[in-house]
């Protein structure tokens, strides 16, 4: 058996063993189709541009059969990642909805929030169209695998004009056992509706989280989306979100990458309506042998769209980070205003960060820019702090914290910012040097 077949074999087998389920016929057909595509595509190779900087070895060396069932855990195990404010809370353990740990509470009128499995029973219509769209992403083997194997996830749907005052908190926890969890998520915001979404991923032991989501924002809808990836140090985390923005829709996101030995966060945004605004911000703080890639793609398909991106990376030890950002402007997307910046801090001679910001502009009346830096701490700033009596390690720590804080400052909501800051501070406190 060739290497490629050996890699996908366990997943093809797992799909075969999955057996008949009480699912709608269209879904079974989709799963078949998705599995076929995964088998055709195989694992991505580093010869593919989009995967050039991502070392998938730890995923390829082992196999992670899909988790067969949910696991029971103590509430205390989830405490570290819990959003401290009020929220509609939906918890998934090993890729499955956990009613015991969830507290969805009373939802405002016009708001639907449930697990994906529950939605398949109650509102299959919501998923049917959304799944078709996800399948449209070409060349994404892990999204196809997800489409074939997913059992659960979450669905948040707001009717036009609906508003969520409290955030929706989706917390996923993996309990190891070398299993994979394929989460299928869906966020549908009707015209003029608004919501705040917090996603957290954490766990213990060895597992693979493979999340795929569709976020669809109708005319004038607004979503604030915070993601905390703090998976177990021996876990793998791959996530891809496809974001569609309608006319004057607004998407503000921040993705914080702290955990997992191998991770990839991929945001594919398409500004389909005129005047849409898309913020793709984030930070990755890496140490040890961590491998993390952040990918953003902002596709301006309509005039007067705005994109703002700031990703900041810190790597120490032998960690390797990568940022691949693309801003594409279609011929008709005049008056596009897009800017992307990736700034990185290397704290060890063995750490490495690859950065590849790209503009692909086919319209002539646009304002687009990008920038990228990779460097060490600023000597002059370091001396300034030391000259006031701060010992060198403390001064360095302060500057690293400031570097990360500068990224977090993109989050307007102070409660959300504070939530992520706790985890940034914990990372800083655990620094090696």
């Amino acid at each position: 058996m060739s290497g490629a077949l050996a890699e996908i074999g366990p997943y093809v087998e797992a799909f075969k063993r999955r057996g008949p389920k009480s699912e709608p016929g269209w879904l079974a057909a989709r799963r078949e189709g998705a599995m076929k595509r995964f088998a055709e595509l195989g694992f991505p190779s580093r010869r593919q541009e989009a995967w050039r900087f991502t070392n998938l070895q730890s995923l390829q060396k082992a196999s992670f059969p899909p988790a067969a069932e949910a696991a029971a855990i103590e509430t205390a195990a989830l405490a570290s990642w819990r959003y401290p404010g009020e929220a509609h809370r939906l918890v998934l353990i090993n890729g499955r909805f956990s009613p015991d740990h969830s507290a969805i509470g009373v939802l405002p009128k016009g708001v639907y929030l449930a697990s994906t499995a529950q939605t398949l029973k109650e509102r299959p219509d919501l998923l049917q169209s959304a799944l078709r769209e996800t399948d449209a992403i070409g060349g994404q083997p892990f999204v196809s695998l997800n489409a074939a194997l997913f059992e659960d996830g979450f669905v948040l749907a707001l009717e036009p004009g609906a508003a969520l005052d409290k955030p929706v908190e989706i917390a996923h926890f993996g309990t190891g056992g070398q299993r994979s969890f394929h989460l299928r998520n869906l966020v549908l915001l009707g015209a003029g509706s608004r919501a705040t979404l917090i996603e957290s991923y954490a766990g213990a032991g060895d597992y693979w989280t493979n999340a795929a989501g569709v976020i669809d924002l109708g005319q004038g809808a607004a979503l604030t989306h915070i993601k905390l990836q703090d998976e177990s140090a021996s876990a793998i985390h791959l996530a891809q979100n496809r974001i569609e923005l309608g006319r004057d829709a607004r998407y503000e996101s921040f993705a914080l990458t702290l955990g997992a030995k191998l991770s990839r966060h991929d945001s594919q945004a398409r500004l389909e309506g005129e005047g849409a605004e898309c913020h793709l911000d984030g930070a990755f703080l890496l140490r040890g042998q961590q491998e993390a890639t952040n990918v953003t793609f902002a596709d301006h398909a309509a005039p007067r769209g705005t994109t703002r991106e700031l990703f900041k990376g810190v790597a120490e030890g032998s960690a390797h980070g990568a940022f691949l950002g693309t801003i594409a402007v279609r011929p008709n997307a005049q008056k596009t205003d897009a800017h992307m910046l990736n700034k990185n801090l290397l704290l060890s001679p063995r750490a490495a960060i690859d950065t590849k910001p790209e503009l692909d502009i086919l319209a002539d009346d646009v304002k687009c820019g990008h920038g990228a830096t990779v460097g060490d701490l600023d000597d002059e700033a370091l001396f300034y702090l030391e000259s006031r009596g701060l010992p060198a390690p403390e001064a360095r720590q302060m500057l690293i914290a400031a570097f990360a804080a500068d990224a977090l400052d993109r989050i307007e909501n102070q409660d959300l910012r504070a939530f992520l800051d706790v985890h940034v501070q914990r990372w800083l406190a655990g620094r090696e040097s």
Binding site: D378, D379, E380, A381, F383, Y384, L385, E386, S387, R388, G389, L390, P391, A392, E394, A395, M398, L399, A401, A402, F403, A404, A405, D406, D409
Partner: protein, 249 residues
């Protein structure tokens, strides 16, 4: 307080900038170091405070009787040496208040004094802010971020007032200040004067010396002290300029 003996120092490209500086500053005294551009004034400030990029090749600096150059920059600061920067560095993301409290507590810890909590610190801050006419809002920003030139210089003196150093080295603190700001800064410096402290004012112009009257003035030219005198030397320099010392290099 400070004894500099035959100090030679060079910069990274090997050029010798200080070529045998001798200077003694006693506790309670304010000394001014004047001189033309490029004479080594800022190098002297950098060497005394441990700024990277300088190599001392000869000579000695004693601070309170012990070898100052053996200490790391932060240890010098905690021992009571303060540098007011000619160009204060902007540090986005490091909150002014947070930074200053950490700095003050590092020094207090070294002296065996209890650390200040947020409330005690704020009380101390407010008294000094008033003296330097700095708005409290400035302290909620990143260190020097978005400060005007004058605000940066006032912030240096404010930090000095908070840290209460024994030896304050002010590098061109007067440059770029309008007359009001100059008077405020001078007030801050004068407030620090005392029998236990010494001040080294590094300046190109005599302007500041009208407001902070020094006990001694030294002319640094070509990397050496070429002339020393009382406060009247400033007026003399104002008339004759540095041309007479220009060839000393």
């Amino acid at each position: 307080m400070l004894e500099i003996k035959n100090l030679h120092a060079r910069i990274a490209d090997g050029r010798e900038i200080l070529k045998g500086v001798d200077l003694e500053v006693k506790a309670g005294a304010v000394h001014a170091i004047m001189g033309p551009n490029g004479s080594g004034k800022s190098t002297l400030a950098g060497v005394l405070t441990g700024k990277p990029g300088y190599e001392v090749t000869q000579g000695q600096v004693l601070y309170q009787g012990s070898d100052l150059l053996a200490l790391a920059p932060d240890a010098r600061a905690r021992a009571g040496v303060f540098l007011a920067f000619q160009y204060p560095v902007e540090i986005p993301g490091v909150n002014n208040m947070y930074f200053l409290r950490a700095a003050l507590n590092a020094t207090r810890k070294q002296r065996g004094e209890p650390e200040l909590d947020a409330g005690q610190f704020l009380k101390a801050v407010r008294a000094k802010l008033k003296l330097l006419e700095i708005g409290e809002d400035l302290l909620q920003r990143g260190v020097n971020v978005g400060f005007s030139g004058g605000e940066k210089k006032r912030n240096e003196i404010f930090q000095m007032a908070m840290l209460e150093p024994k030896l304050a080295i002010l590098d061109e603190t007067d440059s770029g200040l309008d007359i009001d700001a100059l008077q405020t800064v001078a007030k801050g410096i004068n407030a620090l004067r005392g029998p236990e402290r010494a001040v080294l004012l590094i300046t190109h112009y005599q302007r500041l010396l009208e407001h902070v009257v020094p006990d001694r003035i030294h002319v640094l030219a070509g990397g050496r002290i070429v002339k020393s005198g009382g406060k009247e030397l400033a007026a003399e320099l104002e008339k004759t300029g540095y041309a007479a010392f220009g060839d000393a290099a």
